[in-house]
Symmetry: C2
Subunit: 329 residues, 2 copies
């Protein structure tokens, strides 16, 4: 199934099913008002939603609306828990090499993971609102999953079975604020902004062979101000989403609607460009001894899109304008 | 005003007002179903709630129920955002001295703060469920505030005015898991369990002179298994709650119902005992070269209570039993 959430006056919006080809939608508020409601009552909702989804794809439901006619929020506009990993080892290796950082101990044994703010996700077309030009605003293209209930101490298989949905996101990061916060050991608070999501959340079966080993085997294509910035692939994720979920559930249960992210997608192997500005700056530092590419500037546009080998869009597009409140001009 | 939340089948429970002397309660679900609802609509709800609160204290409302007859949850049973500071400098100093840790850089310039999991707070009498005896389960007695909306970039005065409620909590911490997570720089995920709250949330005016300078000037009394463990005082908080809120709002807005904690209460000056086991173990290490006090054991009981100079309880009592799932026996 494919889901989206229409913006309404309420923070959690209104749930719709989206046809497999992303052309059309149908309301499902008689089954579940919001995506959180559907996740909270998945056993009961899932077969009814599935039946309507099949009917939508067969073209036999009434009162459909074209996807393009809707104003969409993040599929889950806020989450009771948002946990973000950093599971593409190439990202850390580049940062360490460029900025002479010590490697993070045991990063190959335990997934790196921080607790993020899930109270206010951005929709796919919402502005990136940056408080101050000096914060070093950056994007990070990531894949993520949304879980059902995960009991404390769940093993890998149970964690894997708790994956309800796959999504794509833009993890807004403030690079000049992160080093101080990392040094405290307490993780990121000021260094992360409102995370933005692509409009469509899909059940793993929708990815077919591209969902393997609890990883998303898709390309993500990033443009900055209309120019290609990166085409990266999800397959190199060092820890799978099942491992991230089991890691997070070691000492506590996870509730339905917990969002677990991969960290910025980054490839050791052949890839074109990168999924965040920080990596390009790291490559420049390694090559030239200095970084020349600027972080996000007022008025710029960032787009992110994931495609399969046939070029089909899986999650729809993130397309955000940058608004810098204090530009010091 | 004083609020509590009755446990129901729903995760957010049902809101009641509690009389100033903590003897009796009245339902307010006709005004706000839950504390989150009240916080989301504070401007509209506040005068109506205030009128009923005055009537409750005057003994002129019907359908009251004794506080003791209710099964209570945390006042806010889950929060869209839970941010915890570490603002009692003595705590860090003790840890550094005992375990030969480097001081955290700039800890006197910027508040230490981590993003916690607010999806599932514990009620005042809920068990502390520990996955494994080796995790080093500990309590931490803290004060906290619950905010209204805080726009991005709010200054101190605006942050101060956004404080709606004051609460007391037990921040469950797993001491053997924390050092590895701190070293990554990503903060605490496995090292924190479900945070438990005292049953009563109060508006700052209820504290009178004991709410000064955005700090809680109250004693907190902690017992472990019936024996006095500590009597500590909130006045030494190095950064006030206004500073914590402004810090968190530098790069993003905070929504109503954001919980901001002080960190474990700890005094440089004269105090008796401490508010967490880790500090006692640190004192033992400094004095004897070894820590002898054990972390929480299966079957133990922890109680926390805050009192004014006259000995009145302000937030009611936290009283939790420890259940260790894997005891390795």
């Amino acid at each position: 199934m494919k889901f989206a959430t229409v913006k309404t006056g309420r923070p959690d919006g209104s749930l719709v099913l989206v046809s497999r080809d992303l052309s059309t939608t149908v309301k499902v508020t008689d089954i579940a008002l919001t995506l959180q409601d559907a996740l909270d009552n998945w056993e009961a909702c899932e077969p009814v939603l599935q039946a309507r989804y099949e009917a939508l794809n067969a073209g036999i439901v009434r009162d459909t609306e074209p996807l393009g006619a809707l104003t969409l929020n993040a599929p889950l506009p806020r989450a009771w828990q948002w946990l973000d990993g950093s599971c593409f080892m190439n990202h850390g290796h580049l940062m360490q090499k460029a900025f002479h950082l010590d490697p993070i101990e045991d990063a190959d044994k335990y997934p790196l993971m921080y607790q993020g703010a899930g109270d206010n996700f951005s929709g796919p077309k919402d502005d990136i609102v940056v408080a101050d030009a000096t914060h070093g605003a950056d994007f990070e293209g990531e894949f993520a999953v949304i879980t059902g209930p995960v009991p404390m101490g769940s093993a890998l298989q149970q964690a894997q079975q708790a994956i309800r949905l796959v999504v794509m996101l833009n993890d807004i990061s403030y690079r000049t604020l992160a080093p101080r916060e990392m040094k405290t050991g307490f993780g990121f608070v000021q260094a992360k902004g409102a995370t933005a999501f692509a409009p469509i959340a899909v059940t793993p079966d929708e990815l077919g062979e591209n969902w393997r080993n609890s990883r998303v085997h898709l390309n993500m294509v990033i443009h900055r101000d209309g120019k290609p910035f990166g085409t990266v692939h999800g397959q190199e994720m060092y820890f799978g989403f099942d491992q991230l979920i089991a890691h997070a559930a070691l000492t506590r249960s996870l509730n339905p609607g917990t969002v677990v992210g991969s960290g910025t997608v980054s490839n050791e192997g052949p890839s074109v460009g990168q999924a965040c500005i920080a990596e390009l700056r790291a490559k420049e530092m390694i090559a030239n001894g200095a970084s020349s590419t600027l972080f996000l500037q007022h008025g710029e546009v960032v787009t992110l899109k994931a495609t399969d080998d046939a070029g089909n869009s899986l999650f729809g597009e993130i397309r955000q304008h940058v608004v810098v409140e204090n530009q010091h001009v």
